[in-house]
Symmetry: D4
Subunit: 249 residues, 8 copies
């Protein structure tokens, strides 16, 4: 039922009984009433197509989701996929591709136009899987991405030489493991928001990314907020949200 | 020196010697060359006036900063101030005010026009100090703020009744201590970015806000990024950054 | 509005316009529709009067809450109060009492009849504040409580001598600091649910109750669930919930 | 010896010597005296049949336990079993079944009648193994279970649409990983006790379920107590204890 | 009742009825039967007089315990007392003494003969409070103690010059804060058991003694076991247990 | 050089030059002077034969150690060995045996007489590997061991029925994982020292044994000291040290 | 461009246009201006050839780096390599060698002269991989290394017998796992700086090296600073830096 | 005894008896033999005068240490002193001075000549106490110090403008709280060793300096080693050790 008013009119006109109306309203308050619409509406309005988190999905289940989304949207993207899952999916969706670095499995017959600008930075080559996940997810959502990779703070000039790119972006994603200092330095160079992504890159006292997470949460630079360890998808999503706001979409 | 070209023209014309030019370029590379401008320029361009972090500042030092900023900008704001600091400052700046809830000490002869919309939400009344810090800082920076307080998830209808406010904001600040679940629920209700602020409200296994911090970093909702425990200032700052992008400022 | 049906009948009869009905339904979906009733109704139906958490409450605010609840319910209970707050409240509510051990401030002109049986156990005398908070809160809610105090596992016969009391209770609250082993031993002695409360009693590697919390969460006995460190109120509340279920209330 | 009185009568009558009686009393105080009976009696009285924790059990040992319980009770249930163990057991107990989702291996020729009502809720599909363990264990113990799955707080309307089911249960089991906010939201919706189960679902800063555990222990909702990470069995057990109390069993 | 046999004889002789005997045995199984005697008997047999943990004890309560123990045993010792408590106790027990370093408050009209040998070692002068607590507690229990203080591993010769003392002891107590390396070095020098006591001495990453605790638990030397942070009493107790075993007491 | 005096006499008599004597004294101070003797002497005097920690040892290296110790002592014991290592060793030492539960690989042609008494207790069957390691190590060192297995506190009567065994031992080893409460209960039942061994048995919030470790370190019972997680060897070693002291060996 | 002056002279002489000069200066400020030279210059000046961190490198990538460095420098060293990588590299660089203990893969046709003195100490044989990494890296950088292995503090005389070697070194690297006490003892024996390397050797509460890390950070000896867990490379690098300073290189 | 040879000559000449010589050698092996000399000699040779750690020292004790050192050395320095201690000391040593920022209490009638160069850097003004402690301690030990304060990475140009100072130092001390990124950036700019000092500056998830400590231990830059949180003294000490090596002292 799309229209509360319509229902009430029908009640008034006796087209449906009071009891029927009551039961409709009681049974489906979340479909009908304001806040409940948010779910269906948000997806439509936001333009964020569904993304599939591949790990742990049973084979048949994964394949059926991909096929269903492909049919509905003409495009589908899965994160953290593996070779095996790719092989399975290729049998059903021949134009599916797999990026072994980021683990992204994708088929996209209706790619979105890339707009605005987001800079995705990472400290070292070991952070590439997360950086590519963030970049490709943002691109799938229609964001124009500049990749600024391998700009760790142990060679600060590499980062500084990219000042212009960073300063012209609507949002910067800063990805780093080990000590995670990258986000603070970038935060001091730009006026746009910085989304920091700690990675699990490192060993010993990096404690699986905890060290980088704490560094980023304690950033002395303004404008830095943080997502979960290795959460490239989340950063790509938020960067797109901000980029769209800047584009007035 | 504002203009590299101008300098080079002078070298060419012999208005200054090669040695002088060399020494200017060497002595002040950070003032002159691109990236170095960022600091001075960023402040000017960004429209973010300086904010004073009051705790631990020596009395005379605090007073002199306030006076200097007041003279330069006609306005000044300090965070986490105390009654004692307020008394000191009132002697020098009679129109200074103090909000004991948020600890904000402020004098503002040139208040900015409030634009756009940011929603600042908090879970309980104990989170008010952080929520007011975030709100007043954002307002000081020219952001229109809607306060949505005391909407903790243990009475979910309170939050749901504010759906419309949340959905119309360019950015939502979600502040909560204890288990910090507020951010995830809000993240599922809106399409704008959510800045989550864990607070140190709680006892026992809240471990000074660590519990809420972990909750928020692990949020199952898209669009949630996190700042440090009790960092209302940081959230107000980032929310303003995003609000300005949405306003194309 | 108490009755959805009534509203629809009025719509049908033309007593109110479709627009009016629509606005009522939209404006107050949480008051009117099922789930939203939970809040108001739950309080009424559950028989759990509101309890005031005293720490950090401003003086006037605390006094006004107590007066308001006293007027409405003829009874009021505050947890973790202090001498100062008691003195304040006594001026307004002469029959208020204060228990310095548990920190409970209470006035109760309509005490509930105590029914069923809950056993509140604690390991040592240092756990008494939490044990009394749990006991008195449960009693305030109408639960008959048997206190089984100072039965720490370092003298296991003390606990065993209370076997009969423990086995006859509908729910057992097990309170202990330091190593927190009490809950597991009790869990093995009874067939009713055990609510375990770690306390911050201890020093050194007790880490403010973390040690006892981990002990209890890892209990090798069936039937043990855990609340926050020092959360006597929570345990008294849950024990009452279970006791009422057992009483078919 | 079943009867203390009988022994004393024999002493009185000289049927056994004082020394013999003394030695019987000293040698077997735990079998004979009150508290010691608790063990054997508890099992009988409580109606909780023994459940086998399968991981790490040697093959022959596992098979022999299953056969023994099958012979004694006509039913047996093992938790966290694997395909290999199932294959082994099927050879001996042909009607044994295996649920790969929950890891439950079961043979039940005398299933109990399902009574009362417990709602088992989980946040996401990745929490299903724990949710099914809790559900099937409770059912094995004779509890009627309503499954309310995939109702994570990032889409709050899904949970709200189940309000009626939740409010009609004697106990609610709330299972969630990542940020674990589900328990608090449910705690605010119902008047029955909520048993919260953190799961190890998540990555990065979820630290194997620690994040969800802290969230649940710090719940701002009344009536929430917590069991160990992934402890579906424990939750099903406690829910059954409470359900039985409500049924006056 | 002191004697089970006596009771049975009375039953046999008809001096008490079977019912009376049954009720005595049932009512007081823990006093009468084997394991229950352990408590009363252990105190008697072990020769460990009760020791009072002073912190947090209410004034009147503390005074009454001291008086009671003084009357019963002619001696009393309290740990972690303060000046204020000492002043209170001196009014009632004039010969009570107070050692401000260890916080031990003591009156001892029947001091035990000091036998055997225990070496109490500490790393620095800041560890003295714990070292004196251990030493004086052991002496109160009748153990001959050699103090080997200020022998931290940063000047290893200081410790080595005490080799003979260490090697002649029945048990060595090794007390250290900061990095806590003392226990391992001593463990390699002697063949008797070493009781390691981490202290909260240190700052920064000593985390209140956690660092020293982990060091000692991970000791690469054989024969080292560990008690809680700052637990001088516990170490003095265990050292006495071992010393007595060596003395065949 | 065995005799300092002899050397000095030779100097006096001119049998060796001053320079030679000086060089002997300087070159070998650790062999000659008191403290240095400790190492060689300790091994001899203590009667603790060397024990081999098998994990990570290279195959040839392991075999050569075993052969060397076998030749020297006629006996050898390795801890935490595996099937593969056993197969290797059997080729060289035909009478070597392997206990897959404890991982102990042993050949013993000169077994020591078992004396005194140590009780090795464990909470559950999953703790058996650690309990057997402790027991067999102690036996290898000549200690008479009573095994008291599967006496976890969730069925407290099992433990209590062993009171006599526990009370007659010179030292009790208490082994438990999960919540580790066993050590505290035993500590309250006996007057001999208790060596507590936390195990990594458990899941979720047991954090690999940390929970049991904290429980044991915070024990409310006197006489409990703790070794590293799963350190059965260490407990067997210390128990032997104490047992020998009690035997005046 | 190597020479700022040269550029300015060209501008003056009209050999290049102002615009060209401006673009050179803007495009490459980091190459040209002071601080930026640091990167290229530092490598040249410092004499630290690049070192390859092997783990996670793709096969082709690894091979190409090795070949490139071999061509440029005539030498190359990789850390933490594995058998498989060695096999690959040997096909291209026949004189490459592999040390399975340290994981170092190396080819060195122009080995540096070994100068000065650094002592690399480790506590046990299990620390050898880290100790060899530190030693061989320092040697590759031209440092003369004395290996002082297996000198753990549980047999302190072993370490003391090496006093002279330690005291004659310009820098001491102290490597230890488990309780990590070695660094403190060495710190008290020498006047040169000690670089402490915690290792992940240990089990249970060593928490992957955290215990040793905390021990070393809390060292009571002066002159001890710490690098990451297992970071032998880092220690070898810093020891070389200090050794070179001492050699006035 | 200063001379072993002298003693032996006396033995040879019969000037002292063999027994006397034996007793001298046995009684004082640590004073006489090699390693034992290290302690006395190290102090003399190293030129590191003793430094007093003031916190927790009893008043009389502190005064007596200061007087003794003043008499012996003509100079004395205490760290982390307070106003009260300064007042006490001034009564006895009139030329004593107190720096309230660093807490250093000092009297120095024989100041050392300042040589070499060490750069002490700190991120913010809140790190000044630690930075001044490091600087003044190094100066007291005769090191020439360049202070490079307030160069946090959130305004990277401030640090870069000091490149020349940093590159000309023999050792750099990098002091920072919050996220502690300073050390990594400096490590990438210089070829000398960097001693990193985490500070407890920060709030929330800085956890008293733990965040900065982890950042620095995980530094991606070569040449960075770390001391304890707030350990300015330690950094000043090590920097002096390195500076002296560079000066060939």
């Amino acid at each position: 039922m799309d229209d509360l008013k319509e229902l009430l009119v029908k009640v008034k006109n006796g087209e449906i009984s009071v009891e029927e109306a009551e039961s409709v309203l009681k049974a489906a308050p979340f479909t009908d009433m304001g806040f409940a619409k948010l779910d269906t509406h948000r997806k439509m309005r936001s333009g964020f197509p569904e993304v599939v988190f591949c790990p742990g999905k049973a084979d048949e289940f994964l394949v059926s989701i991909f096929i269903k989304l492909m049919e509905e949207d003409g495009r589908v993207l899965g994160t953290r996929g593996c070779e095996h899952q790719y092989e399975l999916l290729k049998k059903e969706i021949p134009d599916v591709t797999f990026d072994p670095v980021s683990g992204i499995i994708k088929a996209d017959r209706k790619p979105m136009e890339l707009k605005g600008k987001v800079a995705v930075c990472c400290a070292g080559t070991a952070d590439l899987p997360v950086a590519e996940e963030a970049s490709q997810v943002a691109e799938y959502f229609g964001t124009y991405v500049e990749r600024v990779f391998d700009v760790g703070v142990s060679g600060i000039h590499r980062l500084l030489s990219k000042t212009e790119v960073l300063q012209s972006a609507n949002c910067i994603v800063a990805i780093a493991g080990m000590e995670g200092a990258l986000a603070s330095v970038i935060g001091g160079m730009v006026s746009a928001p910085v989304i920091a992504v700690p990675t699990s890159v490192g060993y010993g006292a990096s404690f699986g990314g905890l060290s980088a997470l704490l560094t980023m949460i304690n950033s002395c630079s303004n404008g830095v907020s943080v997502v979960n360890i290795d959460n490239g998808f989340g950063a790509g999503y938020i960067a797109t949200q901000i980029n769209r706001l800047a584009l007035r979409e």
